[in-house]
Amino acid sequence: MKICRYLLIVLWFIAFCACHEKEEQMQVYSELKDVHQLVLAEMTLNKVGTIDDMTWDKAKGFSQHMGAFVNKFKTGKRIGVYSYNTYLQAYVDLGELRTGDVEVDEENKFVKITLPTIHTRYIGRDLGIKEEHLRVTGLRSSITPQERAEVKEVMNRTLKAEVQGNTEFSRRLEMEAKNKAREFFTLLLKNRGYESEITFK
């Protein structure tokens, strides 16, 4: 009877562990929208990330130290270095342009345009990932696609934090966008015989 009780406890423990496994749900997202964006500048950011064994000096907390301890007994090395590009864009929404934003002085052949505010956004990243270095030796297993997807996710998260914490990225992008807009509209209007002044909201 006592043995049955112990076995029940063991079975309950196993069932409890199994229940805590994350449920895999595939949610499908789809969106299509008409936009009126005038894209004025694009920034390419490169990010490099590595997949490596947890080592004692890198480990934080008990679990990672235990992982580093287990790695000590493994034969061989397993390291992968990957990179990919992420793209940021600066644009103005032409849907926000109002009639009063363009003042035309026919007499003096002069046009003053006040363009809408410049917005910045991530347009995306490379679909693929570049393998900069790979070394798998001894009895170690190859790096899996799942691991590469995970490292890409970590790289994406840290890149976003870096961009958010450093205004230099958006400042440079906006500056480039303003210069390009001025150059484009000035030339466009000059070809039609107008002098111009381009400003932003």
């Binding site: 562990c17 035309v104 210069n179």
Partner: protein
Amino acid sequence: MKKFIVIACVVLSVIGGALWWMESHKVSADTIPATIEDVKGMVKLCALEIHDDVPMKDSINGKWIFAKGRINGYITFDLEKMEYDVKGDTITVVLPPEKVEVYESTDKGAYRVYDAWDNTLFGKGELTTREENILKERMKRRFVDAVYSKGYVRRARATAVSTLSNLFTHLNGNVVIVDYYPGGYGVRGAENVKK
């Protein structure tokens, strides 16, 4: 004896649990701070945005993958390549060829691999980075084909004509926007079209 079996079961369960738990902490994923590779000015009109979760079940060299990627598609027009013709006080502007730009989204969990396996005899090979990139490139081509076949390019070109007409109306011009290829120039762009 029975007591011994129970104790062994408990000990093995605990060791198994501990090993499984340690497994997830054996790999470290480090990153190096991002660098700016390029900043370039451009003038292009973006007329349509497509954000889609695209499943990918495909194989190469007998190795399979089942994954899901969130794709951002943009249909754009390079306004710096815009051709125009002045006749009297009317300017005729020709809508340039469209470009379908495809990226992987930067949303959280945008690319997720559900399963990867080797279907060859005795196959234990993992999909390499090069092979995975080839499969993703195929997915990109299928996405671009779908953009054309679903009529998204036609819709984007119509939107672009309307947006440019509005812009030039604001600029007080007598401008006519002409679209010679409302269905699109095709995946190879302008060189695909005999003038």
